[in-house]
């Protein structure tokens, strides 16, 4: 991916919407295009979390394994979503497994590289943290709603 292409692709992704151009330029060095076939495992639980994905096309299932239930999908992510934040939080290991449900194209950002850039440029670091925190908040809310099991005992 050329630098111009990488900057354009990153800028078009909702996660980096309205990010300053100088910051986008800093991030392009950490980015690469990736492609996963349907059924391909993107990462496994417990493995080092070195990458962070911006999904451009396709669908990814985030899974875990539950005794007596087998592999269970916790969440499906799609175009415009981000996949993974374990690269940001120690001990930098994936907490779940991710698998492409269909052909999926994404931009992979090197987590170590990103952490380095954030340490060097705290403005970029703060901006990224705000955006990640927003995603985490949304997913936490969704998880809470999921835990409430709201469909129990509802009117006909």
């Amino acid at each position: 991916m050329t630098i111009e292409n990488a900057e354009r692709i990153l800028g078009e992704h909702p996660f980096f919407k309205d990010l300053e151009r100088s910051h986008l330029q800093l991030l392009t060095g950490c980015a690469s295009n990736v492609r996963f076939k349907a059924g391909e495992v993107i990462f496994r639980e417990g493995e080092p979390a070195n990458l962070f994905y911006l999904i451009r096309h396709g669908t990814v299932a985030v899974e875990t394994f539950a005794p007596n239930r087998g592999a269970v999908i916790i969440q499906t992510l799609g175009e415009g979503d981000i996949l993974g934040w374990s690269w940001l939080i120690e001990p930098y290991r994936w907490r779940f497994e991710a698998r492409a449900v269909e052909l999926t194209r994404a931009v992979a950002l090197d987590g170590t590289c990103l952490r380095g850039k954030c340490e060097e440029d705290h403005e970029l670091g703060y901006e990224l943290m705000k955006r990640i925190a927003h995603v985490i908040e949304k997913r936490l809310q969704a998880t809470r709603l999921q835990l409430l099991d709201v469909y129990d005992g509802v009117r006909s």
Binding site: L145, Q146, Y151
Partner: protein, 288 residues
């Protein structure tokens, strides 16, 4: 109060809104392990049962009791009265155990309806969860049979699992239509499932509609509706354009007994469909 009762009676075309009419069960379709769709016809040879999308009836299992159940059939086919019932209590269990040819009592239709006329010219986003799809199905039938009058039509439907989904065959048919966007999600699924997993609110940011020219129709568990309204507002839909169907303890159906009081309104008489802007002050209040 007497005036309201009379008005409801006239609207319902009934001489006495407290008197159930006998209806004969024609067909029962099992939707899920505990939810059934009942098709009814008048047992006394009475004519068609006209209703508007969003209204409900009081269904009476003789000798057991009466419950409010939304009408889930097509308003343009008033020959058959359709209700989808989830067997969760004594009365609903009795209703779901009825056999073809058996008779139950029906009072109604009661309440107001979805604003399908007000939505003309706009995009329509239907967000529903669980059995909340049943009260919205008549609205969807209406929208689809008047397709040219509306912009985008989007159905966002969530259920606990794949097994808990209503109207599976119809959902498949709707998904194949090019003039209707259908997004379905379940709260949990095995790894073999290829559809979307996540709560219904997570789909709202993904669907295509013009938030400034959209009417949103929402029905489902109250918690789900609270989260849904937040997401819709976040997308830019005004509270004036969000309509929700409320549930309270409806008994008489005509605003007489007061059991379904919700703030300053009665759900059976002034609802069950409310403009969110109008009930916003007490929608999330625990005491109401």
């Amino acid at each position: 109060m007497a005036f309201a009762l009379e008005k409801q009676a006239i609207m319902a075309g009934l001489s006495d809104p407290m008197l159930p009419s006998p209806f004969c069960l024609q067909r029962v379709r099992k939707e899920t392990y505990d939810t059934f769709t009942l098709e009814l016809e008048p047992a006394n040879g009475a004519g068609e049962f006209s209703f508007a999308a969003g209204q409900f009836n009081m269904l009476y299992a003789f000798g057991v009791g009466e419950v409010p159940i939304s009408i889930s059939g097509d308003p343009s086919k008033p020959q058959t009265l359709v209700h989808t019932v989830r067997a969760v209590g004594t009365v609903t269990q009795a209703l779901c155990k009825l056999k073809r040819g058996e008779v139950l009592g029906v009072r109604g239709p009661f309440g107001n309806h979805w604003p399908v006329e007000e939505a003309v010219g706009s995009d329509v986003v239907i967000v529903t969860g669980g059995i909340g799809l049943a009260p919205l199905r008549p609205a969807l039938y209406h929208l689809l049979s008047n397709r040219e009058k509306y912009g985008r039509i989007v159905l966002v439907y969530g259920a606990r699992t794949l097994q808990d989904m209503l109207y599976k065959r119809e959902l498949e048919q709707w998904r194949s239509q090019l003039d209707l966007e259908v997004d379905v999600t379940v709260d949990t699924a095995p790894a073999s499932y290829r559809g979307n997993v996540g709560v219904v609110t997570t789909l709202i940011p993904r669907v295509q509609f013009d938030p400034f020219q959209t009417v949103a129709l929402v029905c489902g568990p109250e918690v789900m509706m609270r989260f849904t309204v937040r997401e819709l507002e976040h997308r830019g839909v005004e509270p004036e354009n969000i309509f929700i169907s409320m549930e309270r303890n409806m008994r008489c159906g005509v605003g007489f007994c007061g059991h379904c009081q919700f703030g300053s309104v009665f759900v059976c008489r002034d609802g069950p469909v409310f403009r969110y802007a109008e009930i916003q002050p007490f929608f999330a209040k625990r005491e109401v």
